[in-house]
């Protein structure tokens, strides 16, 4: 069903349409929540709260925009609020000189979803959040700084650190691969 039609039915209180919308987006949003949250329980809570917000504020969705992206933004914001409530610590790396590192594309390609996700989850929560927001969701540093209420430079340094951390972990997983500076 067309998203516009689906949303209008949801707004009319059609439970079938609500279920259809939920079934369409919940699996991908569950993956988003798991990447941001510390535990499975927290991820489930975020998904639940996020979808309640989606249905409550569905009227404010601009029909010309992508519904999936709109829902994703709400879910990401819900996860960030949850992390904020859990008092996630943002480490300021302003004074630290960070060296940009990279790994070979083949090494990343060889990794499965599961392995990649596990590596990501092993990163500290602060790195992981900035990495998710910048690399996966595509937010700019200024946007991330506003969302997390930290400075832009902290964002950048966290991002570099996160990249290094992930590259290291990939290399550890595949010793034959060396990461390039």
């Amino acid at each position: 069903m067309d998203n516009k039609l689906l949303a209008s039915k949801c707004l009319k209180g059609d439970q079938k349409a609500c279920k259809e919308l939920y079934d369409s987006y919940a699996p991908s949003m569950m993956a988003v929540c798991q990447r941001y949250c510390k535990s499975q329980e927290q991820a489930e809570d975020c998904l639940q709260d996020g979808f309640i917000k989606v249905f409550v504020h569905l009227e404010s969705w601009n029909a010309s925009g992508d519904l999936g992206a709109w829902i994703r933004r709400i879910i990401v914001n819900t996860c960030l609020s949850s992390l904020k409530n859990a008092k996630a610590q943002w480490v300021n790396f302003e004074d630290e000189v960070v060296m940009a590192v990279s790994v070979e594309c083949d090494a990343v390609s060889r990794l499965g979803f599961q392995e990649l996700e596990e590596l990501l989850l092993k990163m500290p929560i602060g790195y992981r959040t900035v990495f998710n927001l910048h690399v996966i969701e595509g937010y700019g540093y200024d946007e991330i700084a506003t969302m997390l209420q930290i400075t832009e430079s902290t964002c950048r340094s966290q991002m570099h650190k996160a990249k290094n951390c992930l590259a290291k972990k990939i290399t550890e997983l595949q010793p034959e691969v060396k990461y390039a500076v």
């Binding site: 919940a26 993956a31 990447r35 409550v56 979803f113 690399v135």
Partner: protein, 441 residues
């Protein structure tokens, strides 16, 4: 180049999907926003309007059947319209000397032809659905003598309690009656001694129908019903579950009650209203693994604890309560005093509530309570559309009231269950409605 590996990470993770636990949707569903208030607002305005119209119509009806208001323009069946009664020469004479009324030739002819009969000269005569209009003044001269006798006879019939007209006069009256100017039988004039003449003429004459077959009416009805359901399995795996449900549940006698408005034109009647239906079922269950723990206390000290294993029989009443808007287009015809009506129609269920216990797919008893906003997992809170066919037989018990019996059948086109449920449950409802029909005009 440095960001290429991150692009791959992004591509791999962005579209990743994970299995979602079922309980999340249940919680989300419970918190879904209600239907927009605007709809409820229009809905309530619509039905308040219907109730108001109904109330005013009823008040109007009650006010107009009051005998004190029969003075000027009442033309329902059984009554005769008399215009300008206050200036009627007969009544003027009666006012002066009610016990000694003599009709002069001039008065006799004019009273019958011009005044008394003129009062009803422009009536619409409705027999076998056609109307006739005639003016008696054209025949004044030819019928003068005849009318003189008739006038005397009518006057005496009206004012003298024990007077009965001779046969020849009855024949002349019958002729006049056949010309559609005179009611078949005249009632007595009731004289109010205080100063005002109150006329209550009750006759057995034809229905002077001015509405050419159009009219409004309200019907109130209630009656018993029986509502078996049809269960179909969506998959072959759910066949056993279907059989278990059929074996464990049975239909009981239920009920239906409603109000509807009717607009009649010629032999066609459009009915629309509000109907409440109550479906009653019984769920019977035998739990062979039931147990009961008996604890024996002495001075608040547990001294013995026995566990008894056995079978327990449960009998639960399941209810489906529903509100419908039925609309029908009927064909109506009369044979004497009895009316018949065939009413095919469609309806919309606008609200339903379900309460009770049925088996779940693992054959465990499960509550299907669904009153409230969230609705249940099994049944819908708005069932949808249904089709029906009623056959009505009515009998007129007063000029404005008919009593009717209406057997009918309803078939729910929409299923009662939610889309996720593994069976399709549809109902057929047989019912007999008993009710009253109030003709407004």
């Amino acid at each position: 180049m440095t960001n290429n590996w991150m692009d791959i990470v992004r591509k791999k993770l962005y579209f990743q999907e994970k299995k979602v636990p079922d309980h999340i949707w249940i919680t989300v569903q419970k918190n879904l926003p209600q239907k927009r208030k605007r709809n409820k607002f229009y809905f309530s305005i619509f039905y308040s309007g219907i109730v108001l119209i109904g109330t005013f119509s009823l008040l109007w009806f009650i006010q107009n059947v009051n005998p004190s208001n029969l003075d000027n323009s009442y033309t329902q069946k059984g009554n005769v319209k008399i215009t300008n009664r206050g200036n009627h020469p007969i009544l003027k004479q009666l006012q002066s000397s009610p016990d000694d009324v003599r009709l002069s030739n001039e008065l006799q002819s004019s009273s019958i032809n011009s005044n008394l009969v003129n009062g009803i000269k422009n009536v619409t005569f409705n027999d076998k659905r056609y109307k006739k209009e005639k003016n008696i003044s054209q025949n004044n001269n030819a019928n003068q003598n005849k009318n003189l006798k008739i006038a005397n006879s009518i006057k005496r019939e009206i004012f003298e309690p024990n007077f009965e007209a001779p046969n020849n006069i009855q024949i002349l009256k019958a002729e006049l009656f056949n010309m559609n100017f005179l009611p078949q039988k005249l009632g007595k004039i009731i004289i109010d001694s205080k100063e005002k003449f109150m006329i209550g003429i009750h006759t057995e004459c034809y229905n002077f129908n001015k509405n050419q077959g159009r009219g409004f009416a309200i019907e109130l009805y209630a009656g018993p019903g029986y509502n078996p359901y049809l269960l179909t399995a969506k998959t072959t795996e759910s066949q056993d579950y279907r059989k278990s449900r059929i074996n464990s549940e049975s239909s009981m006698v239920s009920g239906i009650i409603g109000i509807r408005g009717i607009y009649t034109f010629s032999k066609i009647a459009l009915r629309a209203g509000l109907e409440y239906q109550h479906i009653h079922e019984k769920f019977k269950y035998r739990n062979t693994n039931d147990y009961k723990v008996i604890e024996v206390y002495t001075d608040s000290q547990l001294v013995r604890k026995d566990t008894i294993y056995g079978a327990r029989y449960l009998s639960i009443n399941n209810y489906h309560r529903m509100l419908h808007i039925p609309i029908s287009l009927a064909y109506e015809f009369n044979k004497g005093n009895i009316g018949y009506s065939i009413q095919p129609g469609v309806g919309l269920n606008i609200w339903s509530s379900h309460k009770g216990i049925i088996f779940d797919n693992l054959l465990r008893p499960k509550s299907v309570h669904s009153a409230g906003a969230s609705g249940g997992e099994v049944f819908k809170t708005k069932v949808g559309i249904f089709a029906f066919m009623n056959f009505q037989v009515s009998k007129r018990i007063s000029p404005n009231i008919k009593m009717f019996v209406e057997p009918g059948i309803m078939y729910f086109i929409s299923t009662f269950n939610n889309i996720d449920y593994i069976l399709n449950q549809k109902y057929i409802s047989y019912h007999v409605k008993l009710g009253l029909n109030y003709t407004i005009r």
